[in-house]
């Protein structure tokens, strides 16, 4: 890599970290196409760098999100149980399933979710509900400080079994395909469990690092992580994620949806295209 290319990769990584921190996803959607199409880097090394970028986004943003009470650590840990076991199953199944069909299915699911999200664009906070006995038992309720509304906003997780199953599904998909775990996590918390969008995004961010760490060892061992590429990516993404984590508390939940929706559509289209054998 020339110094110019390194600076370019660094700059794109800052953008990826920023968007990832706001939308609750890893920066893979930007990193992989940028590295392969703009810099002619092998797809294998690009994916290796994107796994590193997911962990960097997560840890870089979560430090601030945890401190600022944006992340719900109990909800995150409870759901991580589903995601990590799903991811292990997915990785074990990977040799038995045809990935192209899975890409097509996931792409369709994401694009349908995008339509659902579009209808929810104007929603600031979900309608308040009463905690179910399960939510009380598992303490899946809390509050977050909303500096934009100027008050603490209480929330309760609903449809917990559905959310848990969706999270396990997100784990299986990310174990099988290595992508999409962040968007599926946000969709499970926002769509199924009806948590406020900022809490969904920050908690997803907190979780994706753990899911990615579970598979990062495999990528390192296989020689898919080239430090001359993944190094500048990690530095840029960390910087971007830290900036994003400072911005998110000041945004409204509606703004976060406006960042998340295009990310969801792009990932959906990318996934569908990959399943159909088109380069995108």
């Amino acid at each position: 890599m020339s110094l110019g290319a390194d600076v370019g990769i660094f700059a794109i990584s800052i953008a990826a970290g920023l968007i990832g921190a706001l939308a609750g996803v890893g920066g893979g959607i930007l990193i992989v196409p940028a590295l392969t199409l703009l810099f002619g880097i092998d797809i294998r090394l690009a994916i290796g760098a994107s796994i590193v970028s997911v962990i960097a986004t997560s840890s870089g943003a979560a430090a601030a999100y945890v401190r600022d009470r944006m992340t719900d650590m109990r909800i995150g840990m409870f759901l991580e149980l589903a995601t990590t076991s799903g991811a292990v199953c997915g990785a074990l199944l990977a040799a038995m399933v045809a990935p192209s069909l899975l890409y097509v299915l996931l792409g369709i699911v994401l694009l349908f979710s995008a339509i659902q999200q579009a209808f929810r664009l104007g929603e600031e906070l979900p309608a308040s509900t009463v905690a179910s006995p399960l939510a009380t038992r598992l303490r899946l309720a809390g509050s977050y400080p909303d500096s934009r509304l100027g008050r603490d906003v209480p929330y309760v997780a609903i449809r917990i079994p559905l959310g848990f199953v969706m999270m396990a599904g997100a784990g299986v998909v990310s174990g099988l395909l290595g992508i999409g775990s962040g968007v599926l996590k946000v969709l499970a918390m926002d769509g199924a469990m009806r948590l406020p969008m900022k809490v969904s995004s920050a908690t997803s961010n907190f979780m994706i690092g753990v899911t990615a760490a579970a598979s990062a060892g495999i990528y390192l061992g296989r020689g898919d992580v080239d430090v001359t590429i993944a190094g500048p990516v990690a530095l840029g993404v960390l910087a971007g994620a830290m900036i994003g984590a400072r911005i998110l508390p000041r945004l409204s939940n509606r703004h976060v949806r406006l960042v998340f929706l295009p990310v969801l559509i792009v990932i959906g289209l990318q996934t569908l295209a990959r399943g159909l054998g088109l380069a995108l």
Binding site: L3, D6, L45, G48, V52, I55, A56, S58, S59, G60, A62, A63, A64, V66, R67, R69, M73, R74, M77, F78, E80, L81, T84, S85, A87, V88, A91, L92, L138, R139, G209, V210, A212, A213, A214, S215, A216, G217, I218, L220, G221, G223, D224, V225, D226, V227, T228, A230, G231, P232, A234, L235, L238
Partner: protein, 119 residues
């Protein structure tokens, strides 16, 4: 342990992990501009190992090779979420929340197990 203290501890773990990782990668990168990625800051000659091979990291660190220093930074980065989960197990236990100490321990077990299971 109070919830505020818990959050501060987890946040500190993340800041230290991320900071150490970024510092190592940045030192490696700066070193690469001086002696090249495979060179040695101790003047030990150029290595021929691949930049994606993490097997030679110990020897590389002994010779202060930029590639090995940056690789160490990536390993710290990957280890940070794992250490964070381990810290949370202890913090939930100190908070007296046995249910969540157990749940988090389960996550840690799956996480560590996956490193050995998937080969």
């Amino acid at each position: 342990m109070t919830p505020d203290r818990f959050r501060a501890v987890v946040s500190t773990v993340l800041i230290v992990g991320v900071g150490a990782s970024a510092a190592l990668i940045a030192i490696g990168f700066a070193g690469s501009l001086v002696v090249g990625w495979q060179g040695s800051l101790l003047g030990r000659g150029v290595s021929t190992a691949s930049a994606s091979d993490f097997g030679g990291i110990a020897d590389g660190l002994a010779a202060l090779r930029p590639v090995a220093i940056a690789q160490a930074g990536l390993i710290v980065l990957v280890a940070t979420p794992v250490v964070r989960v381990a810290t949370s197990v202890a913090a939930f236990a100190l908070e007296g929340d046995r249910l969540y100490a157990a749940i988090t321990l389960g996550v840690l077990a799956i996480l560590l197990g996956s490193l050995f299971l998937i080969r």
